[in-house]
Amino acid sequence: MTEEIIIAGFGGQGVLSMGKILAYSGMMQDKEVSWFPSYGPEMRGGTANVTVIISDERISSPILNQFDTAIILNQQSMDKFENSVKKGGLLIYDPNGITRHPVRTDIDIYTVDAADESARMGSAKVFNMIVLGAFLKLKPLIGPEYMHKGLEKSLPARHHYTIPENEKAIERGKEIIQPKFLLN
């Protein structure tokens, strides 16, 4: 099993930390993992993206241009990465702020209303965990106990009190993900 994922959105949406939690959790479950960020000016407010690979085998290139899954959180990233999903792959996006929806008919497309849902849950901070939950619903690569360990490892101790809230958001994401276009 090798899952090659791009997560892309605005700086500040928690794109890089979502990737880090996913990678750390994969590592806790004894998988090979890599996390390759866009860095530099993007981190200071523009677009941010991260490539995460989770695999049972040694990872060759941590840098890719084709992905099994794209998780897309703003329009610029949709424009940039819609065509980078492998045929038969998966695209998950939050329609909030999307003006041009994906048009591919050779991949599975799902939506997750994470921005709205995080507002309803009363914390914009759990936005990225709702998205992560949606992904894990479709690709259950990592068990909840390892997600818990991944959260413990990637969050500093002073933020450990937020773990239950984050786990609740992951569960909520699994519930609210909706198919938009399915191959079969």
Partner: protein, 374 residues
């Protein structure tokens, strides 16, 4: 239980430095390597082992602080990225002239000038051919993973003191910024002053009545003595070329076509090898781990086996010159590079290899009436 963590390349290097029993870090921040200094400070390396962690006023100050520490037999280093390493070249030449052991990390970004903060491999010439003045070489290690960023801190210090030479770790922005799994070793204790005096009698540790003064200088105006000094240096580089070559062969045993790449380009080519093999193409990868000493003999051997070599670098073609010298015309050698911070993709480099060697071969062989399985 093994201590395994998910770390950035720069952080892993900094942790490796602490655990290798380093005595002092002197550096000045620059993207994409600032995490080295940040990590040493955040980890309170000074409290963990008593090592010095100092943000100097400039890169030029940093490299001369390294000179001072190394002259006392201490395990010292600096780190920077391309423009900062350029500033240090005079100091590096002085370290070479005085045979002072030290560790240098260059997390390469695109140049020339301030260039870009994105990854590049365009400092190969500077690192391998000598960026400073004079006839000198450094041992140059090229990590291709976060684990190697960690491992090469200790390996670098070991080689530096074994040969009394500067060891440069030539990394790049991609390896420095990405996170991977790292397995950590136990802490190596720092050496005491008494141990240093005993093990390294050449150091300036304070004259005692029972010995002559130790002088660390690269200046000798007598040309006869200066030639002897230079000959001695060249003998050392020759010995290093004979004994310290490191490389990794990936699927080379039955390879008909070969990638040569180091650092993050090697990771990309590794994926290209997988993609090519899945389509029945016999492709291998030779990954130089030491750029000086360069694995010339291994490449000469492989040139008798393969039909073509593609050297992939994020530069306009620097290491390819050493590949061509090693192969000496035995087989066609082509170069493919992306510039200015662009990273090539695995299918892109595979396509270039096919266009250069395989498709062409198929056309010429079919024109000659030969048969060939794809």
């Amino acid at each position: 239980m093994k201590d395994i963590r998910l770390m950035k390349g720069n952080e892993a290097f900094a942790e490796g430095v602490i655990r290798a029993g380093c005595d002092g870090y002197f550096g000045y921040p620059i993207t994409p390597q600032s995490e080295v200094l940040e990590y040493l400070a955040a980890q309170r390396a000074d409290e963990r082992t008593g090592m010095v962690v100092l943000q100097a006023e400039s890169e030029i100050a940093s490299i001369h602080m390294v000179y001072g520490g190394a002259a006392c037999g201490k395990k010292v280093l600096t780190s920077s990225s391309s423009p900062g390493i350029s500033l240090m070249q005079e100091g590096i030449s002085f370290l070479a002239g005085t045979e002072l052991p030290c560790l240098l990390l260059n997390v390469v970004r695109g140049g020339p000038g301030l260039g870009t903060i994105q990854p590049s491999q365009s400092d190969y010439f500077q690192a391998v051919k000598g960026g400073g003045h004079g006839d000198y070489k450094m041992i140059v290690l090229a990590p291709a993973s976060v684990q190697e960023m960690y491992d090469f801190a200790k390996l670098g210090f070991d080689l530096a003191f074994k040969h009394r030479i500067q060891v440069m770790i030539l990394s790049d922005g991609a390896i420095g910024q990405m996170m991977e799994k790292v397995e950590l070793d136990d802490q190596v204790p720092r050496m005491t002053n008494e141990e240093i005096i005993q093990k390294y009698p050449w150091t300036t540790t304070g004259k005692t009545p029972d010995r002559e003064r130790n002088i660390i200088t690269s200046l000798d105006l007598n040309p006869v003595r200066q030639e002897i000094i230079n000959r001695k240096l060249q003998e050392k580089f020759k010995k290093i070329q004979e004994t310290e070559v490191r490389f990794e062969r990936i699927q080379c045993d039955d390879a008909e076509y070969l990638f040569v790449a180091y650092g993050s380009s090697a990771r990309i080519c590794q994926k290209a090898v997988m993609l090519g093999r899945a389509r029945g193409l016999k492709i291998g990868l030779l990954r130089p781990i030491t750029l000086f000493p360069f694995p010339s003999d291994e490449l000469a051997k492989l040139s008798k086996q393969v039909h073509g070599i593609l050297c992939v670098e994020m530069s306009a073609g620097q290491m390819v010159e050493d590949v061509r010298l090693s192969v000496n015309g035995a087989v066609p050698v082509e170069h493919y590079g992306r510039l200015g911070g662009i990273i090539p993709a695995p299918d892109e480099v595979l396509h270039v290899l096919e266009e250069n060697f395989i498709n062409e071969t198929m056309i010429s062989e079919s024109a000659a009436g030969g048969e060939r399985k794809s």
